[in-house]
């Protein structure tokens, strides 16, 4: 398996606070990787740093073999790297279908091609993916009227519309009805297997992440605490101390 994302010694400071301190992390093509750590350990900051939301103070991010740490959000996304947000972000004034249509891979191409009424296959794919996340019945409803959990699912489906190589998911199960969580895990795995999307998932729910991820990295106070297979990380005393002990 080739190296898809290679985060090398990334450092990010906000004023006097060091949010990421020399963080390194690798994700291989086809993998489902996990990122855990207590609140404030710098997980979301790392996502933003990878995605180009702000300049980083040190280190380098390589995606698909090319450096991306000088690029802005747009070009990074178009190279096949997409994220979802912890506080879901969808286009609340538009219907679910419209949310999906505008998120298609085709929308990232030549702007003038957007002037065509419909792009081939977009609607079918949008409906398929909405069905995939269980929102097919809601497809003509305004996205802003969905429940938080449904919005989360919609955002996930929109991200899949982009046909990313790597998808960064920020707490996909937060706010989701516990009875639906197993279904969600199943969907993430299917997206990984059937759609060929590599996943990097931030997750608080230990049960979820242990079932899902093949490789887990644990952050604490902006530094990598441990990294390895789920079992290894779970049993690492430092992780237990910093993370589980904090609960």
């Amino acid at each position: 398996m080739t190296l898809l994302l290679d985060v090398q010694n990334v450092t990010k400071r906000f004023g006097g606070v060091t949010a990421n301190d020399g963080v390194s992390l690798q994700v291989r093509t086809g993998q489902i990787a996990g990122l855990i750590g207590p609140n404030g350990s710098g997980k979301s900051t790392l996502f933003s740093a990878i995605m180009g939301a702000f300049p980083i103070d040190g280190g380098e991010v390589m995606f698909n073999g090319a450096p991306i740490s000088k690029l802005r959000v747009g070009p990074i996304v178009r190279s096949g790297l997409v994220r979802t947000y912890q506080q879901t972000r969808i286009y609340s004034e538009m219907t679910c279908m419209e949310n999906m249509q505008v998120s298609s891979r085709a929308s990232q191409g030549n702007v003038l091609s957007l002037l065509r009424l419909k792009a081939r296959g977009v609607d079918v794919r949008a409906e398929d993916l909405l069905a995939f996340v269980g929102l097919y019945e809601k497809r003509f409803e305004h996205a802003g009227r969905l429940s938080f959990g449904q919005q989360k699912l919609l955002e996930f489906a929109m991200a899949l519309m982009c046909e990313p190589k790597l998808l960064l998911l920020d707490e996909p199960t937060a706010g989701i009805n516990p009875t639906l969580i197993n279904g969600l895990i199943d969907r993430l795995q299917r997206a990984n297997k059937e759609l060929g999307v590599t996943l990097l998932v931030i997750e608080h729910n230990m049960r979820v992440i242990m079932n899902l991820a093949e490789h887990i990295t644990c952050l604490a106070h902006g530094c990598v605490l441990a990294s390895g297979a789920p079992e290894e990380v779970r049993n690492d005393p430092r992780v237990l101390d910093a993370y589980l002990g904090a609960h």
Partner: protein, 326 residues
């Protein structure tokens, strides 16, 4: 009463409605020839409101400088008519073509430079651009500087001038309407709304946000440029600050009309323009000397008590009456 009308409107297919209105517009100048020029100005206002709404309503970018494209159109057309040596109609046609082309180029250049700027800084930058353009035009002697430019006289028979410009302006307004109607139906329209809803998200989903904004601006600029060329001929005289780059009148009116009718809708700006224009004319007729005070108060009242506009109000009413149907 209102609900009743709303129901009736929904009962009529849109094409029926459009045809009816179109016919009405086509016969209006013959029924009331003395109002032809007034009505031509009405179409100008409709173009103003619609083109402003492309950025202001659909994209959520409030521009106070759109009048710059109107001014460029005025001058481009006037200069061609003055210097080309062609017969009147040929010169007018060439002038309008150049007006549209120059406005387009200007929009692409300014868009690339300014459309990365967001929020009120964008509004301010466009305001500054509009004022600077007016002042530069007022200093440039090739285009008449502060003395302005007089347009060539219309060669046709008495009374035909009004009809001619009425129909030209009507054509521009309808052209604009249908172009935007088509545009809002494409995925480009969706992308514009996505940027309005959450620009960071749109960018994080890979949309070429700056290019989309620039193209949208360019589309409205083309129609403003055309309208500028025709309006210059209707008025017969271009003053750099009071006609061409008149930010404090045309520049603000276009915003108000769009808001009054309802931002971000296809029909809103049209309705807003019609109501605003009539109200303004009535003020001018019946409130001699106080009309500007009345206009100022009207502006305050619109934005304070009616910021969602007529279409916004209608929508809210519909939504409260029935769940949205697909």
């Amino acid at each position: 009463m209102i609900d009743l009308i709303l129901d009736r409107v929904q009962g009529i297919p849109e094409w029926g409605l459009l045809t009816g209105l179109g016919l009405l517009a086509l016969v209006a100048p013959f029924v009331a020839p003395s109002l032809a020029t007034q009505l031509a100005f009405l179409w100008l206002m409709v173009v103003f409101a619609q083109t402003w709404d492309v950025l202001g309503g659909q994209l959520g970018y409030n521009s106070f400088g759109n009048v710059i494209f109107f001014g460029i159109g005025c001058y481009a057309c006037a200069v061609v008519q003055r210097d080309s040596g062609l017969p009147y109609y040929e010169a007018l046609a060439l002038g309008l073509a150049l007006a549209a082309a120059l406005a387009l180029v200007a929009a692409l250049v300014f868009g690339a430079a300014l459309l990365g700027i967001r929020g009120h800084y964008f509004a301010i930058a466009t305001l500054g651009l509009g004022i600077a353009a007016g002042e530069i035009a007022a200093g440039w002697s090739y285009i008449g500087a502060g003395s302005g430019l007089a347009m060539p006289l219309y060669p046709g028979a008495l009374g035909s001038r009004e009809l001619f410009f009425y129909f030209v302006m009507f054509a521009i307004a309808t052209g604009c309407f249908f172009t935007l109607r088509w545009l809002y139906g494409t995925r480009f329209g969706l992308a514009m709304n996505a940027i309005r809803d959450d620009e960071d998200k749109a960018e994080a989903m890979g949309l070429h946000t700056t290019a989309i904004k620039t193209i949208a601006w360019a589309i409205s600029a083309v129609f403003l440029g055309l309208a500028g060329g025709v309006a210059a001929n209707m008025l017969g005289f271009i003053d750099p600050r009071d006609v061409a780059f008149s930010g404090a009148t045309f520049g603000v009116w276009m915003v108000l009309m769009a808001i009054l009718g309802g931002k971000g809708t296809l029909w809103g700006p049209v309705i807003g323009a019609v109501i605003f224009h009539i109200t303004k004319e009535l003020f001018w007729t019946y409130l001699l000397g106080w009309q500007r005070v009345a206009l100022g108060l009207l502006i305050v009242a619109i934005v304070l008590f009616f910021p969602q506009g007529i279409m916004g109000w209608v929508k809210a009413r519909q939504q409260s009456r029935a769940v949205v149907t697909p």
